[in-house]
Symmetry: C2
Subunit: 463 residues, 2 copies
């Protein structure tokens, strides 16, 4: 009898050992991120509580129509679910009736599912004493981040970076005025004229007007300055957005002057074919449209001329003393994942391209079933990144209302429960309006549903 | 014989049970950070690799004269140690001979040891899909961070926040021009005149001149505008820095006009007595000087007037679309720790005050042993935060060279191997220069050593 008890005790004890052993060494231990981390399997100390909190909050599912964050609004001790548009309730399960589809902003949440799938690699852990100084590895700029951005351009083949300087900005947004400042002549008798070709991204104008520096002046659309004798091209600063926001078309400088700012925010294989690496003197890129992290406020400029570069650096120093080093750390980790997964199953550009191609195709099918609306024409084009012909997958649909009585196209859509961005904001006709295709899947699904309803109302002009 | 083997096996197994059990539940598991996290003790999954990497890199000691960061420059697969000034070598163990003491910048690394001691509470873990959207809980601003900043002001008693709006900036730096913009009249016939009282923080001037907006103009030092008939005070924007940078004195507006920007970056118990909560219409605060995180580029303004507030919000939107949400997450966690530890053993203000009081006392002893130099006079003052008289603990020493032949005080110090910031940069006489006391302990120790050597050279004027 004592022998049996003994045996039961031994078996229980051995079982527990097997259990602990497997828990400790086998379950939930991803491979260490760097080869030199033999201690990656050791027990954690000061990071453990924050890591557990992050996992616990991330585990709140919010019905697939929202997400909870550690810095969310706390109610009864819990961060609350932050729901997608048109969803509500504590777990985002309730669809709000008669809710308008919001296709206004260029919020790049179409990439959120990508990062959910790559959670382990893209996570960062930041201690309280991490890099507190103004100075990082190279002044205000992280050497490793610069190195990885250059590697990304080389791997994607969308820009020639070898002979360019890099400056970081709090979004490409901050660099817009920094470049206008840097390209304005120092001692000119009259201010530089800043222009863009309509339809253009409205921030060029609103930012130039808000800062209203004595060295430059917003002068409207480029076409008015072609063959103009009143202004020499040496005193012109031209914005060229390629692919263009709103219509996704690839553009070149119209004036061919010395000072051209090429905004290549959308020149990534998500959105556009990459026929060849861009190689202009001043090029802007946006972290928001590369990895989808609009929140991080990160962008960069590639600049060929040293004097222009130095003026931008000076601007960045005086405006904000560089870009948040916390953000630089995060963007570095994201780019590491993008590079590691590139051309494999986890290729972010493949993911982004497939998502947007699918959305564009669906929207096109709906719109083409009627003659009331039309979309911009984008042809399939050879892409050096995918090494094949690719279908269009633009970030935005540039909708034209074809009926004469639909003078205000955004208003027509609004009456059908669709919030768009009117053509007038892009200094184009009100007969156009922009629909964002890069928001969440919920946003797009609702947009498509409303478009189907609108188009099915009838397609023949009443006039 | 079999019974003995059995017993040995059982004992071994039971011992292993105890070992695994203690490993699993007792070692290195800090208490969960939030009471609602019953799963904080569970095994980690997607955060584990990043947490292990952070701990491994943090474990590099760098001889106590440096630190390694996960985003440091990688050499042979390892992030390298980033050494304090005047230290070198792969582990920062080598003191560089004849190295100048750099007391130039206001890099607030005196608080780094504080955060090392509070590593567990202040760590953040950020997933790749964390808060990607432009929109956070309230437009570009984190509701929880705003709530915690207000709580911090109430707890410290250094500012009345109840009736003020809050705007965040990428450092208080960004908010300087945002406030100048917002306070400039919209449709005035002449630009607003921007002034400050010398000695003043040089960025007010350099930023106003760099942006060079048509609505305002830098007009030099305040005293020239007192009783001036050429400019009405309604069109003046006055900067008041209190405590002042460089001399740490508490200041009030000289002109008493409508548009005064109170820069209270140093109005925290680290640096200054808090006689009463500040309650001006426009007040600036800096994360860099509150928690010591200059790198995060975070600051905020408290603004009473709604129209001014709305113009600053508009400026922030157009300049950078708000402040990095990654930074907002980090600052939130830091302020949570500050609030939780306040008035206990881990009080950051007690730590900062003791550190700087000690530095100030030591420097004073050295300087007062000679008649060649003098420092600004700061008297002990009653502090409502510590509820007692407190000794001075300014961020900077404002050094005066007392000998006539020492016309360029910064140059005198430079010859003695001390890098300071010349009085001329603050639009004061070159007979003054500023020494930063808020850098690392290594920086201060070297500064003191060089000052001892300089002062011991003799104190009687040669003229």
């Amino acid at each position: 009898m004592a022998g049996v008890k003994f045996l039961v005790l031994l078996c229980t004890s051995l079982f527990l050992n097997v259990f602990f052993f497997s828990c400790y060494f086998l379950i939930s231990t991803p491979p260490p991120p760097l080869p030199w981390l033999p201690w990656a399997r050791l027990r954690l100390s000061w990071t453990r509580a924050a890591a557990a909190e992050a996992e616990a909050v991330a585990a709140l599912a919010c019905s697939g129509h929202g997400r909870a964050f550690v810095d969310g609004i706390i109610v009864h001790g819990f961060p609350t679910c932050e729901c997608n548009a048109c969803y509500a309730g504590p777990d985002c399960a309730d669809l709000i009736p008669d809710c308008a589809a919001d296709a206004d902003s260029g919020d790049p949440l179409f990439l959120e599912p990508y990062w959910r799938r790559h959670a382990a690699g893209s996570t960062i852990v930041v201690s309280g004493w991490h890099r507190m100084s103004y100075r990082t590895t190279n002044g205000y700029i992280s050497v490793e981040l610069e190195r990885h951005i250059r590697a990304l351009h080389r791997a994607v083949g969308n820009a020639v970076e070898e002979d360019k300087f890099i400056v970081f900005g709090s979004g490409s947004t901050q660099l817009i005025n920094a470049l206008v400042y840097a390209l304005s002549p120092d001692n000119a008798t009259s201010p530089a004229s800043v222009v863009a070709t309509a339809p253009y991204y409205a921030l060029y104008k609103s930012q130039t007007n808000l800062f209203d520096g004595r060295e430059y002046e917003w002068k409207g659309i480029t076409s008015e300055w072609i063959n103009s004798s009143s202004v020499s091209t040496t005193n012109l600063i031209e914005f060229v957005t390629s692919p263009n926001n709103p219509d996704g078309l690839l553009h070149k400088s119209v004036l061919g002057g010395q000072s051209v700012i090429y905004d290549h925010a959308y020149y990534w294989p998500h959105f556009s074919a990459i026929p060849a690496p861009a190689d202009e003197d001043v090029m802007l890129f946006s972290g928001s449209k590369t990895s989808g992290h609009a929140s991080s406020r990160f962008g960069w400029a590639l600049i060929k001329d040293q004097k222009v570069y130095e003026k931008v650096v000076q601007y960045m120093q005086v405006n904000t003393m560089g870009v948040s080093r916390d953000t630089q750390l995060r963007v570095l980790q994201l780019i590491k994942v993008i590079l590691a997964e590139m051309e494999g199953k986890g290729d972010i550009f493949e993911f982004g391209y497939k998502t947007l191609k699918d959305r564009w195709r669906k929207l096109n099918e709906v719109v083409s079933s009627s003659n009331r609306f039309s979309l911009q024409q984008i042809s399939p084009q050879y892409c050096t990144y995918f090494q094949k012909m690719r279908d269009p997958s633009p970030a935005y649909a540039w909708v034209k209302c074809e009926f004469e009585e639909d003078e205000d196209c955004a208003e027509v859509l609004k009456e059908a429960g669709i919030i768009s961005r009117s053509g007038t904001i892009f200094e184009a006709s009100s007969g156009y309006t922009r629909l964002s295709l890069i928001k969440t899947q919920d946003d797009f699904d609702l947009l498509l549903q409303k478009m189907v309803a609108l188009v099915s109302k009838g397609g023949v002009s009443s006039i």
